[in-house]
């Protein structure tokens, strides 16, 4: 089993995004570093638009993630509603 990860800049928008990810991925480990947050998860990680909208209290387009993203690893599968990271092996 390998970890996937994703990292965001630390700011007001990503606070909600990270909270949503933590709720939706109970196995995820949130690692705070200077000016950034790295999230590791075994095998796969799912980011849900609906959960982020709930936290932010506004509409959210998953492509807004691009503005705050720092890095990631794993294969990406993205739709309008979900952003998935996973390893197939």
């Amino acid at each position: 089993m390998s970890n996937v990860f994703i990292a965001f800049q630390t700011n007001e928008e990503t606070r909600s995004i990270i909270e949503a990810i933590a709720d939706d991925n109970p196995n995820a480990i949130i690692n705070e570093q200077p000016a950034m947050v790295k999230i590791d998860a075994p095998d796969s990680l799912t980011i849900k638009r609906a959960s982020i909208e709930e936290k932010m209290g506004r509409d959210f387009d998953l492509q807004e993630l691009h503005v705050h993203l720092i890095t990631l690893s794993g294969h990406i599968d993205e739709t309008d509603d979900e952003f998935n990271l996973s390893w197939l092996n």
């Binding site: 691009h66 890095t71 690893s73």
Partner: protein
């Protein structure tokens, strides 16, 4: 009457398909092979470009929208940082030397990446891959511009920032990053994608941007943090492109596997060698440290790169052989590199120093197997000499590796007390290498690497002086003439940090900032 039906908004997948399939066509006035002349000679077989899928599925309108937002955020931070004399808030002025190295070594590579992706974005015959490469070409231009903008503020106050582009083409250690990228852009489009898109972006940029830029933030540099993370926000897309290209080639034809594996092996090692400089910046040039090079290597290469290679095993990809040596070297190379730069500190466009005692203690703790045994005594000896007024500067020129162009300071993988030398003969000439892996790369493509512009050879051949210089004149000082050609101002840009103009100015300005005096 027609029923009015609200047009349903296209989903992400349809929007992307419309852009990357519907807008492309097969040429008829000219054969496709004439329009795309470069995407076959490397031997990569592609049967169906329509199988290409970019998972981010970014369309042009979304691209412009989010990039514009990134720029607005970046420049807002930069303005605030500069308006407020943010440079005086960095931990100490030694840190600023890491930025000098960044501007002269890395920023010109961003521009080269722009050129490389613009070229590949024209030459690949699949529209999906072309669009992704063109976006990356624009990103890379943005990275170069934002770095120049951010760092221009430091040029108002500190030495060594004044002629970075000129220096990049001339200074001995800058030939390491320069030749790395020249090697990549002179390859075919598929090798370029493996070199930069995959090995560099996916496997290695995490080590360049993430811990180092997080470190810049930790040292109070909002300017570097802003451009670093803004660039890195594009990087997720770049990494994905690199990984997609690998998967695509491997899925298209089994005959592609050995070619791709050869490129992965080559470019992992080329990247690892170049990142020696980044590792040194992390261990020695950040006064406040987030993590050691060794720790960063373990997280981003061993753990995350390991997961990647395990995943790619289903296509038959194996972990590059050079990783075994890189794993041993993670405990050595930063110390070897800094000790070398310290000794060649008269010929560098930044200041060097011996770390303070608590910094040496930190290194001892982070490198328990190697630092006290091999490196601390050397650094302490050099520091002691400097205190006695005998600061050591080497004035001889080192032998360079013909492949990575790094001076021969790396040691044998099984004996850290012995410098590693390898050599090959080609057309009656002898060529020298730092390692088995650099030698192997040369042996595979000697015609390419014999053409390398080797800074030390060029100096000895008299090609690194200004045109009006007469090397036969009485009392000719070759080092001074070379520095003049580099546009390094002796005594300002180079030598020890202790006693430097930057050190004095920073102390004075910071005192002024803190008091009414």
């Amino acid at each position: 009457m027609d029923m009015k039906v609200a047009a349903k908004k296209l989903g992400l997948k349809e929007r992307y398909a419309a852009m990357t399939r519907g807008l492309d066509w097969e040429t008829t006035y000219q054969p496709m092979d004439t329009v795309y002349p470069y995407d076959k000679f490397e031997g990569i077989k592609i049967h169906d470009w329509d199988k290409w899928e970019d998972p981010f599925r970014l369309t042009m309108d979304a691209y412009w929208k989010y990039q514009a937002e990134k720029e607005r955020k970046l420049y807002a931070i930069l303005d605030a940082f500069n308006q407020n004399n943010g440079h005086l808030g960095v931990t100490d002025a030694r840190y600023i030397n890491a930025l000098k190295l960044f501007l002269t070594a890395v920023t010109p590579l961003e521009y080269m990446a722009h050129r490389g992706f613009a070229h590949v974005g024209r030459q690949l015959r699949g529209a999906g891959a072309r669009v992704a490469c063109q976006m990356q070409a624009l990103d890379e231009l943005r990275h170069a511009q934002t770095q120049i903008h951010s760092l221009s503020n430091y040029n108002k106050h500190y030495n060594g920032f004044h002629d970075w582009r000129h220096m990049h083409d001339r200074i001995w250690y800058l030939s390491v990053p320069k030749s790395f990228f020249d090697d990549a852009v002179t390859a075919g489009p598929f090798e370029y994608m493996v070199a930069i898109g995959f090995s560099f972006e996916y496997v290695l940029t995490n080590l360049l941007f993430v811990p180092f830029i997080s470190g810049a933030a930790y040292n109070g540099d909002m300017g570097a943090m802003a451009f670093g993370f803004s660039a890195q926000s594009d990087e997720a897309r770049h990494m994905t492109l690199g990984l997609e290209m690998i998967k695509f080639m491997l899925e298209q034809d089994p005959a592609n596997l050995p070619i791709v594996q050869g490129w992965i092996d080559k470019w992992t090692w080329r990247g690892v060698r170049m990142l020696t400089i980044v590792g040194m910046m992390m261990d020695y040039m950040l006064p406040k440290r987030v993590m050691s090079w060794k720790e960063a290597w373990e997280i981003y290469f061993e753990e995350s790169g390991g997961a990647l290679f395990k995943d790619l095993a289903r296509y038959g990809i194996t972990i590059p052989k050079c990783v075994a040596q890189a794993t041993i070297e993670k405990e050595h190379i930063t110390h070897q590199a800094w000790t070398t730069f310290y000794q060649y500190g008269a010929a560098a466009a930044f200041n060097t120093w011996i770390p303070e005692k608590e910094e040496l203690d930190w290194l001892s703790e982070k490198y328990p197997n190697t630092f006290d045994k091999y490196y601390r005594p050397r650094l302490e000896y050099l520091g002691e000499q400097a205190k006695q007024g005998k600061r050591f500067y080497s004035t001889t020129l080192p032998m360079l590796c013909q492949c990575c162009q790094i001076p021969m300071f790396f040691t044998e993988p099984d004996d850290p007390t012995k410098i590693c030398y390898r050599e090959s003969d080609h057309n009656g000439e002898k060529y020298h290498f730092c390692s088995d892996h650099c030698k192997e790369i040369f042996d595979h493509e000697p015609e390419k690497y014999v053409q390398a512009w080797m800074p030390v050879h060029q100096i000895y051949q008299g090609n690194c002086f200004k045109p009006d210089v007469d090397p036969t004149a009485e009392g000719f000082d070759p080092l001074a003439a070379v520095l003049d050609w580099y546009n390094i101002q002796f005594g300002r840009d180079n030598l020890d940090f202790e006693g430097s103009e930057d050190q004095k100015n920073f102390d004075t300005w910071r005192q002024t900032a803190k008091s009414n005096g």
